[in-house]
């Protein structure tokens, strides 16, 4: 299950990465946030395979020492830094010199923290690359709980401090802007992303508590990998899904709208058949099955719109004395569809002339 979740994350990340990288080649005024976010995606995308135990073991076996451990931390910290920088760039007023200077200062400070933490951590790691804490597979402490060298645990905690800092900062920015954003899919996406970030923070807490516990000789009944893997999966999946919501959300809305329009067009078919017989129609369906099989989502708005217009044409042709609404304000396809659906429903049980007389003047 966990492997499946991670593989699914890789697939999602790959799709996102591909789409985001398309932006890199676009020439626009200021693509820095887009470029930084794309770099963040690259980092997360590369980090996910290293979270899979079998891949980490293969990397270590190839290197002859625990290469996957520092590699994963390096990539994860880079991912945290780029994503944090993205939020800082994207949520600041770029035209304001004071804000620009503040963002530059914060980004530099984060880079300094990151380089310092990674340098210190990697130097400590270099003194004991074969330590049991850094080994992948059943022999390592990630799989088999047991005592760890305090220096190795310290190495882990130093790097973890920077990672936690970036995730906390991303969580805060994502939460604040989810509360402020009034565009539906941005708001939903940021909220989902925040949930992912919270799991990221839980991962950091889990690692820290687990390491400290092992240093003090307390060995939890579950392996660190089990806890970390689940939390990472629960972090990355919603984070990717959330941050890409403004991309796929409107498309999802479009599909839902197309399905609704298709259903309404089909519901109006019998009435349209009765009313529009006397008017010449534009590209009418040849048969009911032809109408049914007009399925392409991109066509549905135009087809239901056409149906409504032809219903009006048909109505005016058979009842030119019909009186309805006046004025050009507030045209609304949905309202027209609802009105016609009511007529279609009523016309099932009563003569159409009676129904039309009753609805006269309502629009």
């Amino acid at each position: 299950m966990l492997t499946f979740a991670l593989v699914a994350t890789v697939v999602v990340a790959a799709v996102v990465l591909t789409t985001r990288l398309r932006l890199l080649v676009r020439v626009t005024v200021d693509r820095r946030p887009g470029h930084v976010l794309a770099l963040g995606f690259v980092a997360w995308f590369l980090a996910v395979p290293l979270e899979i135990e079998s891949i980490a073991v293969a990397v270590d076996r190839w290197a002859g020492w625990g290469l996957s451990w520092p590699l994963l931390r390096l990539i994860a910290c880079a991912g945290g830094f780029f994503t944090q920088t993205f939020y800082r760039l994207a949520t600041s007023d770029r035209a304001d010199p004071a804000q620009r200077a503040r963002v530059t200062r914060l980004v530099r400070r984060s880079a300094l923290f990151g380089v310092t933490a990674l340098a210190a951590g990697l130097i400590l790691f270099a003194t004991m690359p074969h330590d049991v804490l850094f080994a992948s597979g059943p022999n390592g402490r990630m799989i088999t709980p047991g005592p760890v060298d305090p220096a190795a645990a310290l190495t882990n905690l130093i790097i973890l401090c920077y990672f936690t800092y970036t995730v906390a900062s991303i969580t805060s920015a994502s939460w604040r802007w989810a509360a402020k954003a009034d565009l539906a899919w941005l708001r939903r996406g940021l909220r989902i992303h925040t949930v992912g970030c919270v799991f990221g923070l839980l991962y950091c807490v889990h690692v820290a508590v687990y390491q400290i516990a092992e240093v003090f000789g307390v060995f939890p009944p579950w392996s660190e990998f089990e806890g970390d893997g689940s939390l990472i999966a629960m972090c990355l999946l919603p984070a990717f899904v959330g941050v890409t919501a403004p991309m796929w959300g409107p498309r999802l809305d479009g599909l839902a709208r197309a399905a609704r329009h298709y259903r309404h067009r089909r519901l109006l078919y019998p009435l349209w058949l009765r009313l529009s017989g006397s008017v010449v129609r534009l590209d009418p369906p040849r048969t009911e099955w032809h109408d049914r099989f007009r399925l392409w989502p991109g066509q549905q708005h135009a087809l239901v719109y056409r149906r409504v217009i032809e219903l009006w044409d048909g109505l005016l042709a058979v009842r030119p004395t019909m009186s309805g609404g006046t004025g050009l304000d507030d045209p609304d396809l949905a309202r027209d569809i609802d009105w016609w659906l009511e007529i279609a429903q009523a016309a099932k049980v009563r003569p159409i002339d009676d129904v039309l007389a009753e609805y006269q003047g309502q629009l």
Binding site: A90, K180, L183, I309, G324, G325, T326, L333
Partner: protein
């Protein structure tokens, strides 16, 4: 406008030109104002209870354009569609010609014309195009044009406006959306 669009031959080309020159607007009355300015002659929208088989007509006078449309019996959506149909006749190349209309429609239009322009010459009638049926290619083109215009306006409509946000916050929300979607 007719002259400037003279080189175009299809509905798509005319629509592209309208879009390029920012003539499209959700309010068809604004579109008419822009067209009127561009053509250098007034374009009047005349709502009338036509009560005939025809639901609209374009009357191209020597010094002004009149679009008559069915004012009762249908919805704003339908009336706007009718107006776009007539605009299609105005803009699509080769559409100014005689339209076969039934006697009742002809009577109504004659009354309208006489009210608008007294002592109307019969030759003017040769520039009437109505929306009552799509029995020939030009009517079909105008109808396709109306559908394309409404669809283009639907695509232009913003997802939503910003509520309760300062201008700076609204800009940031827009920037975030722009960065996060392809």
């Amino acid at each position: 406008m007719g002259r400037r669009f003279g080189g175009t031959t299809t509905v798509d080309q005319v629509m592209r030109e309208l879009r390029r020159r920012d003539f499209l607007h959700p309010d068809v009355r604004v579109v008419c104002q822009r067209l009127s300015r561009d053509r250098g002659r007034p374009l009047h929208l005349i709502p009338l209870p036509l009560r005939t088989s025809i639901s609209g007509a374009w009357l191209g006078m020597p010094d002004a354009d009149y679009i008559v449309y069915q004012s009762v019996g249908s919805s704003p959506l339908h009336q706007i569609h009718v107006i776009w149909h007539e605009i299609g006749h105005m803009l699509l190349p080769g559409h100014a010609r005689t339209c076969e209309v039934d006697p009742a429609t002809r009577d109504v239009l004659m009354k309208v014309l006489n009210a608008l322009v007294p002592n109307l010459s019969p030759a003017v009638l040769s520039r009437i195009l109505g929306r009552g049926g799509f029995s020939d290619q030009q009517e079909v083109e105008a109808e396709v044009f109306a559908g394309a215009a409404v669809r283009a306006l639907g695509e232009q409509a913003p997802d939503s406006g910003h509520r309760n946000l300062t201008e700076a916050e609204a800009q940031i929300v827009d920037a975030l959306v722009q960065e996060l979607r392809v």
